[in-house]
Structures are given as C-alpha cells and as structure tokens.
C-alpha cells in the first residue's frame, strides 16, 4: 500500500487521519507504560550503587530524551514550513511545543528528585542541568512569541525562525559539557554495549517507546484542535462540527 503524502499534507485530510490514528497510539502508549512501570518498579533489580532511588531513571531518561528530540522535530517542522510554506508543518510545530516543554519540565523535576539522595542537593549548576533549563526557556520563549502574535501566519513564521535559531544554540550549550567538569553522570548506554542490567535496559527502552507513542497521540489530538481553529471559516469544518 502506498500512501499519498501530498494528500495528507492538506489540513482537511490530515484531520481525519490524525483522528483515526490518535486512539491507537494512545492505547499503545498506555499499555506500554503499564508494562514498563511494572518492569521498572517490581522486576528490575536494586542498583548495587544507588539503591532503590535509581528507579527514577525509568521516567527521567525517557523524558530527557524526548525533551531534546521533540525540540529538534519541532525545529524540523519549522524549517519545512519556512521552506515550502506548508500550513500543516507550522501547525505540527505548534502542537509539539507544549509536550516538549512538559517533558523538559518532567526531566528537570525528576532529576531534582534523583539529585537530592545522590548528590545531596536538589539542584547543581552543572552543564547538563543548565542546558536542560535553557531548553525549557527556549520552549517557553517560542510559545510566548506565538501567543503574542495575533496574526497566525506572522506568528507561525516568527516562531519558526526563533525555533531554528534556538536549534543552533542547543548543541553549543550541550557540548559545553565536554569542557566543563560536570557532576552529571555519563550515559550508561553506549553503542558497544551497556553497563546496565538487561531488565533495567528493557524497562527504560519500553518507557522511552511509550513516551514516543504518547507524544504522537497527544500531538495528533492537539493538531486537530489547531486545524479546527484555523480552518473554522471553511465548509468542511462546519460539516465536522455539525456532525459531532
């Protein structure tokens, strides 16, 4: 089966597709979350170094991955929107930002909960933590810019430009880790293998996939709202709203 991508780049057709797919992603995310949390909290062994407190990573690490990944996807949609002037890409960028900001906040929050027993401090000004905080500021700035501009077309483009500039900034901040003496531990998962117990790794990967699916589901639901709002003057939206 081949999919006609151009067909689905029109908000009207994408609206239906997103509506049909969102529940599937949502349920898959819910099931994987239950499995992942069960593995994380009941099956995975206690860490020999960090005791039970390490179990925060099953939420912390997927959230941190998603926070950065969603920013890059958002910037990617912004770039596509600027290059091809497609309306749907800007809507996708707008729909992604709140979820990205939420995951950034969750990563910071769970990191603080983990930091207290491990480092004896809720917060340290280490490169990793600071770069994540700046990521949150970038999300907030972009959403504030969108909120401040009433004209949707101008808002789309202005927000997209800011997202792109921020995307250049993120790696610069991120790589400053290498020059700083940093307290945050390095990655346990490496291409050559992992230093973790297998169950731990599976628990974390399942949670990460669940976070992915959750993001897709939420973004589809949110982009449907945005499409309805933007296209409220068109015939097909009137049909949809009368049918509902």
């Amino acid at each position: 089966m081949s999919i006609n991508w151009y067909k689905y780049s029109a908000p009207a057709t994408f609206y239906g597709l997103a509506g049909r797919l969102a529940p599937w992603f949502g349920w898959a995310a819910a099931i994987l979350t239950v499995i992942g949390l069960y593995l994380s909290f009941f099956v995975a062994p206690t860490d020999f170094q960090q005791g039970e407190a390490y179990r925060v990573i099953f939420i912390h690490v997927p959230a941190a991955w998603m926070s950065m990944f969603i920013y890059l996807v958002m910037a990617g949609w912004a770039a596509i929107g600027l290059a091809f002037n497609t309306r749907l890409s800007f809507m996708m960028a707008r729909a992604l930002a709140p979820t990205g900001a939420m995951f950034t906040f969750v990563a910071l929050w769970t990191g603080a909960l983990w930091g207290k027993p491990m480092w004896g401090a809720w917060w340290v000004w280490d490169a990793r933590l600071t770069s994540e905080l700046i990521l949150l500021f970038l999300y907030v700035g972009i959403m504030a810019l969108w909120a401040a501009i009433d004209d949707p077309r101008r808002g789309d483009k202005a927000g997209a430009l800011l997202a792109l500039i921020g995307a250049i900034n993120v790696p610069i901040i991120y790589f400053s880790v290498q020059w700083w003496n940093t307290l945050h531990q390095g990655s346990s998962i490496k291409p050559s293998g992992t230093s973790m117990d297998e169950v731990m790794l599976y628990g974390m990967l399942i949670m990460a996939i669940a976070a992915w699916l959750y993001t897709i589901a939420v973004v589809f639901v949110r982009v449907r709202r945005i499409i309805l709002e933007r296209e409220r003057h068109t015939e097909w939206v009137k049909h949809v709203l009368e049918g509902a």
Binding site: I172, S176, W179
Partner: protein, 222 residues
C-alpha cells in the same frame, strides 16, 4: 554593496549622535547595575574579585537588551524601514549594518567603562585586560542575536519584555564563555579555550543571524 552597508551604519550613528540621551541610558544602566553589587553583598575585595566577571557580563547582557527594542522601532514607525526593505539593496546588509551600528553605539562605550569597573572590583590588571577582550568579542554577538529578537518582536504588544524572554537563553553561551575566560585567568588556567569558543560563537552568529533577522523583518512587515 559595501556602500549600502556603510550608509546604514553611518545613518544610525548620525541618528544616535543627534540624540545622545537615548543611547547613554544603556551605558549608565550598565554602570549602575554593576555598582549595586558591592552595595548588596558587601565590599570585601576577595568576594568582589570572585564575582566580578559574572556581574559585568550579566550587566552587559541586560544593558544590551535595554537598548535593543529601539533598533528597528523608530524606522518602523516613520515608514523608512519599509522603504529600505523595498529597495533593491539586500535586506541582509540592512540587518548586518543595523547590528554593527548597535554594537558601535552600545558596545564600544561599554568596553571603555569596563576597566574602571574592574578596578572597583579589585581585579588584577591581566584579568581586566581579558575581561575587556572577552567583551570586545562577546558584545557583537549580543548585538547580532539581539537584532533577531528585535526583528521578531517588532510592533508587538509588550515587545520589550517578550524580547527579554526570547533572547536571554540565546545569550547564555556568550555569557558562559565570556565570564569563563576571566575566571580562567583568575584561577591561573588561562583564557585561551574560552576565548576561542567565544570567537567561534561570534563567527557563527556573524554568518547566521543577519539572514535570520532579515527574514524576521520581512515576516514582521507583511
């Protein structure tokens, strides 16, 4: 092409020279913010020396923000910005010239005052030199990135506050590397690494930001 760039810079400098009050506020703001720290945390020389690089750098970013909203606003109000964008000259040169003029008006006086502030904060001569050098490399970054923010928020309600929200996160690398260079001198580890990074960030901003602010200006003028 070069002629157009030169004209833009000359025009902004002339405008600034005709009303000195406008741009001197940012300089006085800088000096005052820096001077508030010894009053707030106590005049102990060791402590002041320790915090001086960060304080000066933070004050420099805030002073830059203070002067940025006016970068395009007045030309926008009297319609000359639209004419400049409609002219056949490339918009990139316009934004580059505007940012360069902003740096000449706001950055250079900052560099001139900084040694005095360094002495007030009991910094050794070598550290003062690096502080001035780091500001000389760093303040153009602030002007270039700031031009993007000023173009994005042109004509918006509460544009000044919004500008702060958008631009401060982007200023962070300049702040880290700039203050880090002076800290390096004070700690005896040298300033080269941080200055090189600051220089790289400057070059990157110089290449990227004029295009982005030109695009942002066009979006704002639609």
């Amino acid at each position: 092409m070069g002629g157009f760039l030169f004209t833009v810079i000359r025009r902004d400098l002339l405008l600034a020279a005709r009303r000195r009050g406008d741009w001197l506020t940012a300089q006085f703001f800088f000096v005052m913010v820096v001077s508030l720290f010894p009053l707030g945390i106590g005049p102990e020389p060791e402590l002041l020396k320790r915090i001086a690089p960060g304080v000066v750098w933070v004050a420099a970013t805030l002073a830059s923000l203070l002067s940025l909203p006016r970068l395009f606003a007045e030309d926008h109000r009297d319609g000359s910005l639209e004419q400049m964008l409609l002219s056949p000259e490339p918009a990139v040169l316009l934004t580059l010239g505007k940012a360069a003029a902003h740096w000449l008006i706001y950055g250079i006086p900052l560099l001139v005052v900084t040694p005095v502030l360094g002495i007030q904060f009991a910094l050794p001569v070598e550290a003062i030199g690096i502080l001035v050098l780091s500001l000389a490399l760093g303040t153009p970054i602030l002007s270039l990135l700031g031009a993007v923010g000023a173009a994005l928020t042109l004509g918006l309600r509460g544009g000044g506050v919004l500008l702060t929200l958008l631009i401060l996160p982007l200023y962070v690398p300049a702040l880290i590397f700039g203050a880090g260079a002076v800290d390096g001198v004070l700690a005896g580890t040298g300033a080269e690494a941080n200055l090189s990074l600051l220089g790289a960030f400057f070059v990157l901003s110089l290449i990227v930001t004029p295009w982005v602010s030109a695009a942002a200006l066009k979006v704002s003028m639609e």
